[in-house]
């Protein structure tokens, strides 16, 4: 069995276990898990509007997932995606609103570039500090999240009145700066879907190409695996680290741009840095380092979130349960060791059943382990 196959199996099993454990929790609290999950599915895919919403929420998740992936490849743990995303969100909306006299395509390109650059700078700072001074990028990115949150909030409240709708939110970017696509919005009954989803998919392919087919991508991976070895092999490891973090920040930033010009159409004061940034980590983890995995994981998470909004009303199950299920899925991904153990056992059982003829034996140990897993 190849390693990628194994990783995919772990991801799929984690999702199944997460759902099963969620069902057990529902049972414990006296809810019917079938109607709970049923209402989730019915809500998520029940109307074209919600399907559009899934794509819309997927977009920044894919981009932050990619962002995390790139940083991870270079040996960084980027917790700052949330701030990088917010910086770009504020910046892109400001750009789109500040230059209404420009032609539409220039507004969109300018706003996107401005946002991506802001995100990139937010990634460059921790990258530089780590490469040059060995500072922990984890702490710096966490702290930068706060810096960016409050800088962003204060920027929004001090924007000129003409581009603000209230004290703490800006005007909609409107037709000039929006990346919404009319026929897609019409098709999904005016959901918040936008060209962002196509951008996200194209960028995924691009990043895959960079990481797998270019020297830059190769040096990122080499530096991530062993910086010293990479250095002796003639790779400028510091520059590579800095560029990798900049790319990571720029990707998260692009996620923020799609939030600003697509999903929300404006920017408003936040209580905390956007959750999307943190969920990107979960997406990357569940995607287990694969690019298609990131897209699938993003789709799953946004379907769960959108579907979760219908659960309380139809089946009485609180929406928080969706957060629990997502957390459990990540838990199982994190404890992949347990699942690997389980896979080994099944293999052994398979081998045994192959020896003593075929039969349902292979199913038995799986079931018991599954309940153990859920109780854990």
């Amino acid at each position: 069995m190849t390693q990628t196959n194994n990783k995919a199996l772990i991801a799929v099993l984690s999702v199944v276990f997460g759902l099963v454990a969620g069902a057990i929790i529902m049972l414990i609290f006296g809810y019917n898990p079938f109607s709970g999950y049923g209402s989730l599915i019915a809500t998520a895919f029940g109307t074209p509007q919600n399907i559009g919403e899934i794509f819309s929420q997927m977009t920044p998740l894919i981009l932050t997932g990619l962002s995390f992936l790139v940083a991870q490849q270079a040996g960084f743990f980027n917790i700052g995606m949330s701030g990088q995303l917010y910086a770009a969100w504020v910046g892109s909306v400001w750009f789109a609103l500040a230059f209404p006299q420009l032609p539409d395509f220039l507004i969109i390109i300018g706003a996107t570039l401005f946002g991506v650059i802001l995100g990139g700078i937010s990634g460059l700072i921790p990258g530089y500090l780590r490469a040059k001074f060995g500072a922990s990028e984890v702490i710096i990115t966490i702290m930068l999240n706060y810096v960016i949150l409050y800088l962003g909030n204060s920027a929004i409240t001090s924007f000129p009145k003409a581009i603000r709708q209230t004290t703490d939110s800006t005007n909609q970017v409107g037709d000039h700066g929006s990346i919404a696509i009319k026929w897609l919005s019409d098709l999904t009954n005016q959901s918040s879907i936008s060209a962002g989803i196509f951008i996200a998919v194209i960028v995924t392919i691009l990043v895959w190409f960079i990481m797998k087919k270019t020297t830059f991508g190769f040096s990122i991976e080499a530096v991530g695996k062993n910086a010293d070895a990479a250095k002796y092999a003639g790779i400028n490891e510091k520059a590579t680290q800095i560029w990798a973090m900049t790319l990571s920040g720029a990707l998260a930033g692009l996620g923020g741009v799609t939030e600003g010009l697509g999903h929300y159409g404006n920017v408003f004061v936040q209580n905390s840095t956007p959750e999307t940034g943190f969920n990107g980590m979960a997406v990357a983890l569940l995607g287990s380092g694969s690019f298609i995995g990131v897209i699938l994981a993003a789709a799953l998470f946004s379907a769960l979130t959108v579907g979760g909004s219908g659960m309380p009303n139809i089946s009485g199950v609180p929406t928080e349960l969706v957060s629990i299920v997502i957390a459990l899925i990540i838990f199982f991904v994190g404890s992949s060791y347990l699942i690997q153990l389980l896979i080994k056992k099944i293999k052994a059982a398979d081998a045994a059943s192959a020896g003593s003829g075929k039969g349902p034996k292979g199913k038995k140990p799986k079931k018991t382990d599954q309940t153990e897993e859920a109780q854990a």
Partner: protein, 361 residues
């Protein structure tokens, strides 16, 4: 063997999905249905959630009260709430409410303005209301605003009258038009009693961060403030927690006060001091009857008199805002009532925006 294992996983997934869909479709059909002619109502909370001891909770309590009195049941076709844990939940929540065919959908809080406006355009047959913001000239949306600067003015009067140190505090949630009215009213009210009173002003930058509320409150009490007015939704829970912790280590005579917001928070201020005496540290509550406004809108919608396109303002007159007496002494209460009369007569014009967000000397 590989294929065998994948088959098992596949079967499990298919079974879960199939049974789920079956029950999902079924439960959708069998959802509670009320008698014909009753108009169903749903609220969409902002990120504070329905147990924030304040804004959203008040709305949900009002809706429950209405639902029971009108003979509706919780769920589809009756009344229900949709909780938003994050800004990205607003749109799916409002879509879910439309999909569940609620007749009246009420957005609790200004942050839902955009989604309410959009949803109202797409569904002209559904009635919408937005609390704390104005969506002008949309036929199926009623905008509800509260003159909270007036009740906050009274809160300022009460704080200045009750403070021994003549140092008081204000903790806001997130800067914005709504919280502006609280701060401006409070500062103006306190200054009307004592021009030289010191007012610490701080924002938690969140309506849902109780820990932050507690930290700020702790610093303010340490700084000599003995009354804190909290206009910060769920963040205020931390202020109450800090006041309780301080007061439990002290005698009731030397307690510090909290002025509650949105709901009458007297119950949150009950505690026992170090000598075992029962006491209460909620000086007053600047009540904003979000619940009452929800009831009013639901009733009007039921009667076929939904005030669509209009802006409904709740002030002292409609009992939409008032200062609950809670633990105010007779003299403080008298001063408050006198000022209320002057506001009602128009003798006092209360500002709705503060001059600055800095502390006032």
């Amino acid at each position: 063997m590989n294929r065998f294992r994948w088959t098992i996983v596949g079967i499990v997934v298919v079974i879960i999905a199939a049974v789920g869909i079956y029950f999902g479709v079924n439960s959708g059909k069998s959802g509670t249905n009320n008698a014909a002619g009753k108009r169903s109502v749903a609220i969409i909370t902002d990120t504070g959630g329905i147990d924030d001891h304040s804004f959203n909770q008040s709305a949900w309590e009002g809706l429950q009260k209405y639902g029971k009195s009108a003979g509706l049941s919780k769920g589809n076709g009756g009344y229900n709430y949709f909780q938003s844990n994050d800004e990205s939940d607003y749109r799916p929540n409002i879509n879910s409410a439309v999909q569940a065919k609620f007749n009246t959908i009420i957005g609790i809080g200004f942050s839902l303005e955009t989604v309410v406006k959009q949803s109202a355009k797409q569904n002209p047959k559904v009635n919408y209301a937005i609390i704390d913001d104005v969506i002008p000239n949309v036929k199926n949306v009623v905008s509800v605003t509260f003159q909270t600067e007036q009740s906050s003015y009274l809160a300022g009067v009460a704080a200045a009258k009750a403070s021994k140190t003549q140092k008081i505090g204000f903790i806001g949630g997130v800067k914005g038009d709504v919280i502006d009215t609280f701060q401006a009213g409070y500062v103006a009210g306190a200054k009307s009693v004592n021009k030289n009173i010191r007012i610490d002003v701080q924002y938690a930058n969140s309506f849902a961060n109780a820990a932050q509320g507690r930290t700020i409150a702790s610093a303010m009490y340490a700084n000599g403030d003995d009354v804190i007015f909290t206009a910060a939704g769920g963040t205020g829970n931390g202020v109450f927690a800090e006041a309780k912790a301080l007061n439990q280590r002290n005698t009731a005579a030397n307690k510090v006060w909290v002025i509650g917001v949105d709901r009458d928070q007297k119950a949150d201020g009950a505690y026992t001091d170090k000598n075992g005496n029962k006491s209460n540290f909620t000086l007053a509550s600047a009540v904003k009857e979000v619940g009452q406004s929800v009831i009013d809108i639901a009733k009007q919608a039921q009667a076929g008199k939904f005030p669509g396109g209009k802006v409904v303002t709740f002030g002292f007159k409609q009992n939409g805002v008032y200062l609950a007496r809670d633990s105010m002494s007779a003299s403080v209460w008298q001063a408050v009532q006198a000022q209320q009369k002057r506001i009602e007569s128009g003798a006092i014009k209360v500002p709705i925006h503060p001059k600055s967000y800095a502390s006032v000397q």
